[in-house]
């Protein structure tokens, strides 16, 4: 077949069209990729701003008068304790299995469940106070796993008959029960220890115990008090702090971690109380840390065992709220009016309410990120153990009950601080260098400098960061005065030398070639450097008593970190200089030479031509260069990761370190569980970084294209 035959031509045309389509598709892929990147990141972090939902599930019934209920960890079954001593286990479908509470004489007078749901305290018909442990047992058999709730008696406690049980806590081996008394409450423990009296002056209406039963909170009709149950006095608990109450309390509960006490009252308000240091040294006072208003008296408060969430039952309306975020996640409006017990599932994935008649209402709870909200991320938050709202990044608490603190503000401030110090150093340096190379230097120098600067840009940032942290940082620490001196002495020496040079006779001045001029400047710089570092110790001794860091701390209260913003500014500056230089040099070179020549022809000196013509004409390009440099400084990861010390402190001091957004992502993202709160916050951080650099880059690109159009006309 001839290559020019019609069939062949047809095939060629077809191939041509197919290829054109493929290339167009491939070319647009970049746009698709960038858009997708943005959308994907957004989609990854959006779920965190959703509060949560409660989906009602089938209501099942036990048809016994109910006193208490437990749910197993997998939310398969609910066990309802009846007044007649029966234990009715109901599964999701409503299938019930009836058992009885071992060791109890029916009918039961009262029953209370501990807030983690692992202990049950009852007073039975004989008036005996007994404690049972409740746990979820998982067994593997031929038919797969079977899950059951086991309720086993653990202790019989000496108790005053018919005293109201306020709370139960402790371990299964040695539980403690808080009982109402005429002037407060009594704490009875299982290990043969005597009962401790907690004196309040009035009968306690509500009470709560910490997990280890070492702290007790009591509320009487008029006041709230917290007691430490130490070993010092075996007969009584020590009063730690009290606070008056305006409205009669109805429910008391400790949020996971046992730091914050929630108090519900008859007016519908839930208040959060914490013990803080008082005005007198060593004294402790109760501080009102938060309020959660609502309508209708609070009937009970259920505590989440996973996070700082709690559920408030106000009769018909259950609210699930997060303590630290100070916000209500879910309103469950379909709750029963007369629930005897409301509980949150152990894994914070469900809610159940048991009515007096034994009906069990259940909800599936979907609130994956209760601790996150826009205000938590960007505004001051009062965390447990803090006396005022603060901006803190501390993604991993020391213990399970210590909540993560995820404020992005320290990271954003750290990022901007690093970029600022970097630009303070690299901006003037790179712009000046670009001006020299494009306006004053012969083109031969340009041919040397440009590739070297390109190599500077190619130095991997991990190398720069390594040297900055392990070589420059110790040096700067040892010679901090000399380093600061350098900032003044270097320019001063050069300017001074130029002034001296100016007074020399004309032939001498004109005889200086560019090369020898540069050599002269290099000599001056070297001399100035040597000067700085030899005078360093002397000046430190004369001005700062030989110890600059000590002086800094005493005079200004500023601490000195070895890896600080000065070091980072220098190291980041190293990475940013080539970027600013290259773009600025391009901008200067794109100024039509005819403009400069005209200026020189009119009698301007080279400097005057540069100042009045080249710099104004190139200024949009210089702006673009600085913007690009800023974008790079904001997003640079390895240098700041290595040279900042990575402490997320909110300080603008040049002698402190910081943690930037990029470094934070690099350090914490590999450890963050997929889909968890930290993961989503870090992805949001990445998105913010993307947005920041998008703005700087787009600004730079728009300015550069304007510039191109303007000078395109001029050059033509």
């Amino acid at each position: 077949m001839s290559p020019l035959g019609p069939a062949h031509l047809r095939r060629s045309r077809l191939v041509d069209r197919v290829v054109a389509g493929a290339i167009t598709t491939g070319g647009s892929l970049v746009l698709v990729a960038v858009t997708f990147l943005m959308v994907f990141l957004l989609a990854q972090c959006l779920p965190m701003l959703r509060g949560g939902d409660a989906h009602p599930e089938r209501t099942v019934g036990a048809s016994h008068e109910a006193l208490a209920a437990f749910e197993d960890e997998y939310r398969e079954r609910v066990t309802v304790l009846g007044r007649d001593g029966s234990l009715v286990t109901v599964d999701r479908a409503g299938q019930a299995a009836v058992g009885s509470l071992e060791g109890a004489t029916p009918p039961l007078r009262q029953a209370v469940v501990s807030s983690p749901g692992d202990l049950l305290a009852c007073e039975d018909a004989s008036g005996a106070l007994k404690v049972w442990s409740v746990r979820t047992a998982v067994r593997w058999g031929d038919a797969g796993r079977t899950i059951s709730t086991e309720v086993t008696p653990t202790a019989t406690l000496p108790g005053a008959a018919s005293a109201r049980i306020l709370a139960v806590a402790g371990s299964a081996e040695s539980p403690s029960v808080l009982l109402q008394a005429d002037d407060g409450a009594t704490l009875v423990s299982g290990e043969g220890a005597p009962a401790r009296t907690l004196t309040l002056g009035a009968p306690a209406v509500a009470g709560a115990l910490s997990h280890d039963a070492r702290e007790a909170w009591l509320a009487s009709a008029s006041g709230l008090a917290t007691f430490a149950v130490g070993d010092a006095d075996p007969a009584a608990g020590a009063l730690v702090a009290t606070a008056p109450l305006g409205s009669p309390p109805t429910a008391l509960a400790l949020v996971l971690g046992d730091v914050t006490c929630l108090l519900g009252d008859a007016s519908g308000m839930v208040t959060a109380w914490q013990v803080v240091s008082g005005p007198v040294a060593g004294s402790r006072v109760l501080d009102l840390a938060g309020r959660f208003p609502g309508t209708g008296p609070v009937r009970s408060i259920a505590i989440s065992q996973r996070n700082k969430c709690f559920a408030v039952d106000r009769g018909g309306l259950v609210q699930i709220a997060h303590l630290t975020g100070r916000r209500v996640l879910v309103d469950v409006g379909s709750a029963p009016l007369d629930a005897v017990l409301v509980g949150l599932s152990r894994r914070f994935d469900g809610l159940f309410a048991v009515t007096g008649a034994g009906a069990v209402h259940r909800w599936r709870l979907d609130a994956p990120h209760p601790e996150l909200s826009a205000s938590v991320l960007f505004l001051p938050v009062r965390y447990e153990g803090y006396t005022k709202a603060d901006l803190v990044w501390q993604s991993t608490g020391g213990s399970e009950t210590n909540e993560p603190k995820l404020s992005l503000v320290p990271l954003i401030v750290g990022t901007l601080k690093g970029a600022l110090y970097a630009l303070l150093f690299s901006g003037p340096c790179a712009l000046a260098a670009a001006l020299y190379v494009s306006q004053f230097a012969p083109s031969r120098l340009r041919a040397v400098v440009k590739p070297v600067v390109e190599l500077m840009a190619a130095v991997p940032s991990v190398v720069v960061g390594f040297l900055a942290a392990l070589l420059v940082a110790p040096l700067v620490q040892r010679h901090i005065v000399g380093t600061l001196l350098m900032l003044i002495v270097l320019p001063a020496v050069v300017v001074g030398a130029a002034a001296v040079f100016q007074t020399l006779p004309g032939p001498w001045r004109r005889g200086l070639s560019t090369r020898s001029e540069l050599l002269l400047i290099a000599g001056l710089l070297a001399a100035a450097l040597v000067l700085c570092f030899t005078l360093d110790t002397a000046i430190e001794g004369a001005l700062f008593g030989g110890d600059f860091k000590g002086w800094l701390l005493a005079a200004a209260g500023i601490t000195y970190d070895q890896r600080n913003a000065v070091v980072v500014g220098f190291a980041l500056g190293f990475a940013v200089i080539p970027i600013i230089f290259t773009l600025a040099e391009d901008a200067f070179s794109n100024v039509p030479p005819s403009l400069i020549s005209a200026s020189l022809a009119l009698g301007a000196t080279r400097w005057q031509a540069a100042r009045t013509v080249a710099i104004p004409a190139a200024s949009p390009g210089l702006f673009a260069a600085l913007m690009n440099g800023l974008g790079r400084a904001v997003g640079e990861t390895m240098i700041v990761l290595m040279a900042t010390g990575n402490t997320p402190v909110l300080s603008l001091s040049p002698f402190n370190g910081m943690r930037t957004m990029a470094a934070c992502i690099a350090v914490e993202l590999p450890e963050a569980p997929h889909g968890g709160s930290l993961y989503r916050v870090l992805i949001l951080t990445a998105l913010l970084l993307f947005a920041m650099t998008f703005v700087t880059n787009t600004a730079a690109a728009v300015v550069a294209s304007r510039l191109r159009k303007r000078f395109g006309r001029l050059a033509a």
């Binding site: 054109a20 746009l31 260098a433 070297v452 500077m456 100016q502 997003g635």
Partner: protein
């Protein structure tokens, strides 16, 4: 006043200041290179072993590393001496005040033993004991005998490694079954049939590996027989198993030529060897290999896409809003911080794509992820996204250098657009494409941040490419030179001792990046010359 004005107008000061800025920038890069070359270059040189006798009569033997003003006694100096013998002395380094040194000498009979475990040992050899001979250090053939034994031990270690590799291969089917069983149990499923298979596989493995395990025991026994008895400077003897010795040299007794041999040998070990002592000793070969393989995979993805994009922008696209949007996207892609790509790579490639692959193809190993965790493929794809703009910009420059007349000529002869592109334009633009590829490789070789979240590890037990089918393991984690620098320099337990090693890695990385960039710059300059020629 007028003097000041004329001074400012003349602009000498301003010119000198700007000149100083140029020199400062050049000085910084020069300083960086010099420091790295100095530290890394001298690290492998066999330094003299110095024996110090202190005031209190105690003796130290080691290498002098540092000298600095004593912070506790102004005006005096102190030295840092690497005393080694970590298992006896605890710390590698000791600070000694100059004033406390009574005498100092460089004993010719001091030996340095580089060991596989516990770092260096400095001491004086007493005798060599093995099953069949005993050689006193004073005997003339001691050095030769020691070298013989070290070499023999090296052979045994090679055999040991070979045996282990065989055992690993025998274990592979068991491991696969075990993963499936674990996965099934973790998902709450029945695994009786699988467990039976597993038991059978384990039985077969035990049967096949028995002779190998026996031989392994013999090898261990043999390797443990030869021992070198060393006397330490501070007194006391220490027996060192010869198979633990990598290299034994008496640095003070060596001629310059012999020193050079040791120097080169150490460099070779560094470049081709496996790391020891959690990366602070030995070589960085796995890191070099991991970097190279990752970069190759990255090139496979980035270059075709980059070239297609450049061709689209330069040859096919019209000058409209869409093209402007593509250009803006490209500019942003170039400016987006690399860690953002890392976050995207983790979220999209690893969790979404990798997780999807796992659910489809490797579901029986779940919840243990196969592709749903960081790996070399995902790292390479992430970096491909990052380096795409580099390829596009360079390729565009290459395409622009093709004279329009050449294109018109081809079209006039009846070639279609594709034929023109394939036969004329692309061959002409090859240097540009090549420049782009080289620059992309240079950029990727030095990039660390996105890798930290997409699959780099400090120590990979297996290489992503080996002799087990399917040879190329795209799901494996890998080591990388840049991450090696970060990890050893910042997260190793013994940063001081490891620092020179890191400098050496820095030098290797720097040489690689500089050479690649120089090549790209040269290529591009040729291209630009041609571009100017074409314009005329």
């Amino acid at each position: 006043m007028s003097a000041l004005r004329s001074f400012l107008a003349e602009g000498t000061a301003q010119r000198w200041l700007t000149g100083a800025a140029v020199l400062l920038s050049l000085g910084m890069i020069l300083g960086l290179v010099l420091v790295v070359v100095e530290v890394a270059g001298s690290f492998f040189w066999p330094h003299p072993l110095v024996e110090l006798e202190l005031e209190d009569g105690s003796r130290l033997l080691g290498e002098i590393w540092d000298r600095e003003p004593d912070p506790r006694a102004p005006g005096t100096q102190r030295v840092r001496i690497k005393v080694g013998n970590r298992e006896v002395l605890g710390a590698d380094f000791r600070w000694v005040r100059d004033a406390s040194v009574r005498s100092r000498r460089e004993p010719a009979d001091a030996w340095l033993l580089e060991r596989r475990e516990y770092g260096n040992f400095f001491g004086f050899p007493e005798r060599l004991e093995s099953s069949d001979r005993r050689s006193e250090a004073t005997s003339p053939d001691f050095a030769a005998a020691l070298e013989d034994e070290v070499r023999a031990a090296g052979r045994l270690l090679d055999e040991d490694r070979g045996l282990r590799r065989k055992l690993d291969r025998l274990h592979a089917p068991v491991a696969r079954l075990q993963a499936r069983v674990n996965g099934a149990l973790a998902r709450g499923e029945q695994a009786t049939a699988l467990q039976a298979q597993l038991a059978e596989a384990q039985r077969r493995e035990a049967e096949a590996s028995l002779p190998l395990v026996q031989r392994l025991g013999e090898v261990h026994d043999l390797a443990g027989r030869a021992r070198l008895i060393m006397r330490m400077a501070g007194g006391g003897e220490k027996a060192i198993v010869v198979s633990n010795i990598v290299r034994a040299v008496p640095p003070n007794a060596l001629s310059t030529g012999a020193r050079l041999t040791v120097y080169l040998d150490r460099w070779w070990e560094f470049l081709s060897g496996e790391p020891r002592e959690s990366n602070t000793e030995g070589g960085i070969f796995p890191a070099i290999f991991g970097t190279a393989l990752m970069v190759m995979l990255m090139t496979l993805a980035a270059v075709p896409l980059g070239v297609v994009t450049a061709v689209y922008l330069n040859e096919y696209a019209r000058d409209n809003a869409f093209t402007a949007a593509v250009r803006l996207a490209l500019a942003n892609l170039a400016g987006v911080p690399s860690i953002v790509f890392g976050a995207f790579g983790l979220g999209f490639f690893v969790y979404t794509v990798g997780g999807g692959i796992d659910r489809l193809l490797y579901s029986d190993a779940l919840p243990t992820p196969t592709f749903g965790t960081g790996g070399i493929l995902w790292a390479a794809l992430t970096l491909a996204l990052l380096t795409l703009p580099v390829v596009v910009v360079a390729t565009e420059e290459g395409l622009q250098s093709v004279p329009q007349a050449v294109r018109d000529g081809a079209r006039a002869l009846g070639a279609t657009r594709w034929q023109t592109l394939r036969r004329v334009v692309l061959p002409y633009a090859t240097p540009g494409i090549l420049t782009g590829a080289i620059l992309a490789v240079a950029r990727a070789a030095g990039e660390v941040a996105p890798l930290m979240v997409t699959g780099v590890v400090k120590l990979a037990p297996t290489m992503p490419f080996d002799t087990t089918p399917p040879f190329l393991h795209l799901d494996r984690k890998f080591m990388h030179m840049g991450f090696h620098i970060f990890d050893v320099g910042f997260q190793s337990p013994n940063v001081e001792a490891a620092k020179p090693m890191v400098y050496a890695t820095v030098l290797v990385l720097l040489v690689l990046v500089v050479v690649l960039n120089m090549a790209a710059i040269l290529l591009r300059n040729r291209l630009r010359k041609r571009l100017r020629g074409a314009a005329v």
